[in-house]
């Protein structure tokens, strides 16, 4: 996850009256990083690359993470259960490579 400075680029001064946004200020005051809790995790024999998906193929964050830009606070549940079938469905639809070695090596 990006560090606090990235958040502060926009949220240095409060943009809303949200209590969630205040939390960012609190962390900044205490000079601590936000202790994110990971909700999307794959087992260790699955190698996923954000670079390939988000940067090279320019797939939007919303495609896999839901309506992330519009939320008022960080999600506590994964938007979708990312099973192998779920990934392979999209690979099939977009004609991306579905070989075993693509993700499992």
């Amino acid at each position: 996850m990006p560090d606090l400075n990235t958040c502060l680029e926009c949220h240095k001064d409060p943009l809303t009256k949200s209590s969630e946004e205040e939390k960012i200020m609190r962390f900044q005051k205490q000079k601590e990083e936000i202790p994110w809790k990971r909700i999307y995790e794959q087992p260790d024999h699955v190698f996923f690359s954000h670079l390939r998906h988000a940067v090279l193929e320019k797939i939007s964050c919303e495609t896999c993470h839901g309506d992330i830009g519009q939320s008022k606070k960080p999600p506590t549940q994964p938007w979708v259960k990312m099973t192998m079938n779920w990934c392979m469905d999209c690979h099939t639809k977009t004609k991306a490579n579905n070989d075993c070695l693509t993700c499992h090596v």
Partner: protein, 794 residues
Amino acid sequence: MKFNRRDFLKMGGGAGVAIAVGGGFWKWSQFPPIEKPNSPGAEKWVPTICGQCMGGCGTLVRVIDGWAVNVAGNPLHPVNRGTLCPKGIAGLQGLYDPDRIRTPLKRIGKRGEGKWQPISWEEGLQIATTSLKELKKNGETHKLVVLGGKDRGLMRSLWERFLEAFGSPNYIDEHFDWEGSPIEGFYLTQGLHATPAYDFENTQYILSFGSDLLESFWSPVQVLKAYGHFRRGRAGQRGKLVQIEPRLSISGIKADEWIPIQPGTEGILALGVAHMIVKEGLYHKEFISRHTFGFENWTDGQGRSHLGFKEFVLAEYEPHLVSKQTGVPVDTIIRLAREFALNQPSLAIGYRDRPFHQMAVAALNGLTGNIETSGGVLTPKTIPYQPLPSLRKDAIAQRGHAQKRIDEERTLPVHQPYLFAKNTLSGKPYKPKVLFLYDTNPLFSNPDPDLFLKTFSEIPLIVSFSPTLNDSAQFSDLILPDHTPLERWQDVPLFLNNGFPVLGIRQPVIQPLYQTRATGDVLIGLSRSLGGEIEKAFPWKDFKEVMIHGLKGVFDAKRGDIFGLQFDEAWTRLLQKGGWWAPSYKSFEEFWKSLQEKGGWWDPIYDFGEWDRIFKTPSKKFEFYAQTLKGIQPVPAPASRDETSLFPHWEETKKPGNEKDYPFHLHVFKTLSVGVGENANQPWLQEIFGLHLFERWNTWAEINPQTGKELGISDGEMVWVESPHGKLKVKARLYKGTMPRVINIPLGLGHRSGGRWTAGLGENPNRLLAGDEMDPLTKYPIRGTTRVKVYKVT
């Protein structure tokens, strides 16, 4: 079956790969079309062990109405824990191969013509028995030679027993190079003729000298799972992998660093790294002083002083010299040495190169003290089989055993198929008369297959036990077809990366499809027909009974347990350490029953520090100076360097090849899917043969794009690749992962026979390799020295 697939899934394992059983399936199968294709059938899941390669993964085969229809991983089997590689499910295609041999066959017409007559088992066994009786009558029992393949376990013991009772010393492991772990390196440093375990899951840094780690390792699923754990399974730690190889393989692609190197020079690079580790004092001083021999200079019993490895490697393998030979920059050599020594624990692994090069890689692990430690090189215990009862050799057999082996002149305790070939051709010490081929295909999988073709022509009777009409079976006279792995009983002993011994139980999942017979049963049958002491040596009804006999030893060993869930491992370990042993069975009957239900037995404890067990060298320590060789025939070496030839050292090829006429090095490699070619009859595996280039059903030659431009060869064009030994017409592929002066060709295709999906497809790069320059120790042909030229097909 008391439990079904749902129960396995509830246990939290079980990766399933579903296949569509539809119209296409019926077309190429031999099933009669069923009347009511949609009515539900009786379903059961049978645990067994996959037989597609040496990996030994546990599988669950789904059987509906007596037909095997799906293969999934067995979540209880420690090797794969419910996962599988594509070869696993392709086993079904091996089972249902429409061109499988269905009955014993007798050759009519000339050898290799492909004309066969189906005969009965009675007739087939009769032919074999008659020829064996003839040998006995003439006192020539030693002229029976058995070439056995990737054998381990009781089938191997049974073959050796048969030969012992019959009177022939000639069991030859035709377990070729490409399928091997670097066992010679292990033998020279630790004195054990076995395969080492590499604790990948717990190591921090893997320095791979050309090892095919992520592609065609001997146990692919196990190593891929270990790789996942190595990279992502330990919070906060991500292991580093450096791949040193002449080609950008899958391991190279996934490595943190790929270091291109001149083909065949990995050994000298290892010595260059060793030099730097010694020079900078980065070696593990305590391990070296307590557990190794030959590092420092020493004086022997006669008062003569000897050079130690330390001074030797400092004097001979300076980075500049090594860089010149290998093409690897000096800075890289220095950096690798520091990284390897400072990131502990680390592992240096390689491939089955020439013995002293393997020893050089093994020496790196010795230098850093990564022997017998977590994350290092471990020595698995063997399975405690009950030994087969001693047998009496009759007078004829005793005479037979007094004869020399056909591959006499051995230096290492490794069998030497090339010597067998040469000696057969020369007739010295004698010419074999009967050859049995079991699980081996020398006419395809050996470099210089024509040498073996000529050898075969010298032998009057050749009997093959192959289930498919592969290249070697095609040249035999009699085929007594074995079952495929899904149809037979077998014990599958192996081990895990962390050294735990594992015994898988392979059982038939369906009734045999055709009139094939398990070779174990055939051997027992042959012994009956031969009678006398030979018959007495086989007091079992069939191979299953042999297995049960062997398993009693495992039961009596009072350690380990039937496969269980992963957390049970920790509990069993605690109990055993405390002197308790609480297995999940009480009687042998219960044991045997559970073995069949769960898939096998294992011993989930590794006792570190059993130095007596793991070092069987003359010094009882890890040796940098291979004293084990001193007991065997002297190694030919230049007189002045007699001493240093027992250190790991660089052996330059004596026949460097004609660089002018043959400007490229040939690098041959193995893929995961087709291996050495034994799985070429399975369409699913042919489909994934060359993933990185999307090549399938075809052999290709990888050429560097710049080189291709220079030669005027475009991507996809047909070219000739010619060595002094032969030439092949293959498809050229311009691949950036190719070094400019190297051509890479995969093994696996180019069979001359074997069925509709194998014969005549692709080309066999073994035909380009010569069998004439042999390593003096192993008598195997030296790889990596073949040179080729490439030109367009006009």
